[in-house]
Symmetry: C2
Subunit: 363 residues, 2 copies
Amino acid sequence: MAEQPVAKARRGRPRQAEVARLAGVSQTTVSLVLSGNKQGIALHPDTRARVLEAARQLGYAPDPAARRLAAARNDLLGVFSFTATFPTDVAHSYYPILVGVEQEAVARGYDLVLFTGSSAAPGRGGGGAAELNRVRLADGCLFLGRHVPADPLRRLVEQGYPAVHIGRRDELEGLAWVGADYAAATAEVVRRLAALGHRRMVLVCESDQALASVDRERGFRAALGEGELARASDAGPGPVVRVADPAAEITASWVRARLAEGVTAFVAEETDTCAAWRALVAAVDAAGLTAPADLSLALLGAPPADLAGRTEPTGFDVPKAELGAAAVRTLTALLTEGGADCSPLVPCAFRSGHTAGPPPPAP
Amino acid sequence: MAEQPVAKARRGRPRQAEVARLAGVSQTTVSLVLSGNKQGIALHPDTRARVLEAARQLGYAPDPAARRLAAARNDLLGVFSFTATFPTDVAHSYYPILVGVEQEAVARGYDLVLFTGSSAAPGRGGGGAAELNRVRLADGCLFLGRHVPADPLRRLVEQGYPAVHIGRRDELEGLAWVGADYAAATAEVVRRLAALGHRRMVLVCESDQALASVDRERGFRAALGEGELARASDAGPGPVVRVADPAAEITASWVRARLAEGVTAFVAEETDTCAAWRALVAAVDAAGLTAPADLSLALLGAPPADLAGRTEPTGFDVPKAELGAAAVRTLTALLTEGGADCSPLVPCAFRSGHTAGPPPPAP
DNA sequence: TTGTAAGCGTTATCAG
DNA sequence: CTGATAACGCTTACAA
C-alpha cells in the first residue's frame, strides 16, 4: 500500500487550480485574471467576475515563491539589516526610517519582508553570503546600516539584483544608495552662525571615522572657506578638533582657551553616544558660561533621547522617515524602469534651536 | 524579429545543474550534498568534496524562491496589524512587541513579513476580508491589536491557517492567542497593597470596556475577596469605579471623600490615554496630598511616555517583548507540531515603584 | 476569448 | 551510493 505523500505544510492553502475548478475555467485564465492581465488579453467580463468570486470565496493568495520563480515578481520588498531591525537598545534603532519605508512601500503596493542577519558567527566566510542570499525571495531589497558585509552585497549587485543601501556607501561600485546630505546641512549651519556674526568656530569630532562624520567635516571646511571666514579660520589651531576621549579633553579650561583665541561658536556632531556634544555642554557649564549668551553651540544632528528635555540645540535634523521613503522610491525605480537617476542625497532640515545667537561683544 | 523574452533578473546565476556538470555528478547529488543530506543517504566523501568544490568555484547560491517552492514552505511569518505596523504616533506603538517577535523569529530561522491593514487598495472590495487574505502568503501569521476584523479572521482559522493573536481573543473559537496575565498581575498588586496594611482600596476604570480592562477588574475583585479584605470592601460604595470622563469626575474632593470613607489606596489602569491615572495623580496633587505619605497609588501597567520622568508608579509591567516571543513560539508550534498547548498567559512583573507605602495612621 | 504546455530551480521518491 | 523523474505553484508563449 503506497504511503500518503508527506503532508505538506501548505495543506489548506488554496491554489489557482482550485480557483479554476470552482470557477469552471482553466488555471491559466485564473492567472490572467488575478495578475491584472498585463498582457492586455481580452477576457470576458463574466469569466473575470466568476474567477474573482471564486478566489474570494476560497481566500486565495498567490504563493510568493512560485510567483518569483516563474520570473514574475512578488510585490515584496526586502529590508535587510545585519543587526536586529528592532534592537532592544532603542538608542540607535531604525524605527524612524522604517516608518518612512513602510509608508512609501504601502503607497506603492508592496509588502515588506524583514530579513535579519543572524549576528552569530560573523567570522566565518560563507556565513554572511548565505544570509544575504535569502533576500532574493523579494523583488528587491533595502540594506540598513554600515555593517552589511560588502562582499556578498557586491555579488548580489553584480548579478543584477536590485538593491539600495540606506546610508552612503560608494565603496561598492554600482550599488545604489540614499543618504542624508550631511555636508550641505553642516555648511548651512556654519552659514547661519556666520550670519549671526561668528567669525571663528570650531568643530569637535569624535575619532570614530564614520562616513557621515567625514561628510560633516567636509561641509564644515567648505563653508568655512567662503568669504571672510576663510581668513579668520586661518589663524590659530585648525577649525576641526578630533578627540579620542571627549569627556577628558573637552573641559572648561579647553573652552576658555578657545574663547581666548577668538572662537565664539562650538559645533559637535551627533554620534551613537553623542559623547562630543555631551562633553561640550558639560564643559561650557563647568566654565560657568551660558549659550547663547556667552558663546554659541550647534549640534549636527539630533540630541540623544535623555537630553530631549534640555534646551533644544541649534543644528539640523536628519529626516529619517524621508530617508526611508526615498530609499523605497529609488528601489522601485530600479524595479520598474531599471535606473534611478534622482539624487541619492536627502536634504536635512535646519533646526533653529536655542543654543546659538550673536557672539558677545568683544571685551 | 522575435522580442527577447523579458530579461530575467536571474541573469548569470549558477544553478545546481551547472555545479553538477562541473563536478561530474547528477543534479540530485548536488542537491543532496548542498542541502545537508537530511535524508541520511550515504554519500562518498570524494563526491561530496567535488561537489562542494564545484559549488565554491562557481559561487553557487541556492535560489530561495525555488527552494521554498519545492519545500512547500517559505519560512515566512506574517505580522498583521490593522493600523500601521510602525505608527508615526509612537505612543502606542507595537515596537516593544516587535522586538520580541523579531528575536524569537530569527532564533527559529524565520523571516518576517509585515502587513498593514491600511495596506490594501483603500478602495472597495471585501474590505477587511480581502485584506486579511494577503497574509496567506506567509506560512503563518501573528495578529496585533483588537481591531482585527473577527469574521475574516475566523475564516482563516477555520480553513486551518496558522494564526496567533497577540492579546486575549477568546471570542473566536479555535484561534490561538497569547496575552498578558492582567488578572494575576492585578491581584498581585492588591495583595502587595494589603500586605502594606491597606484594607480599603478603589479601582478607577475608564468606561472603555477592553478585554484587558475586564481582566484587571476580575483580578482586582478576586484579590479583594481574599481574607479580611472581603469584609472591609463590603462597606461603602463598590471598590470599582467606572468613569466616563476621568478628568471631570476624579477631583480633589472626590479623593477626599474616598479617604473619609476609609479608602487608603487608589488604583488605576493603563490605557491608551491613561486618562484615569492622570486624573488620579492630578486630583491627589490638587488635594494637597502626597503619595505614598498620605495615600497609596498604583498603576496597572506602564505610565505614558510623557510621565516617564515623574515618580515611578507602583504597579506592574507588561513584558511586551516576552509577549511577542511567546506569540512566535506558539505560532511555530502550530506550524511544526500542529498544536500548541502551552499556556497563552504571559506573567507580568510587579513593579515596586514609589507611590505605595503603608497607610497613614488613622486620625 | 480560453486552454495547453513548457518551463523557473529545488526537493523528494524510487529504481538502478 | 547515484541518477532519472515527478512534483511544487505560477507565468507566459502559443495553439485552438
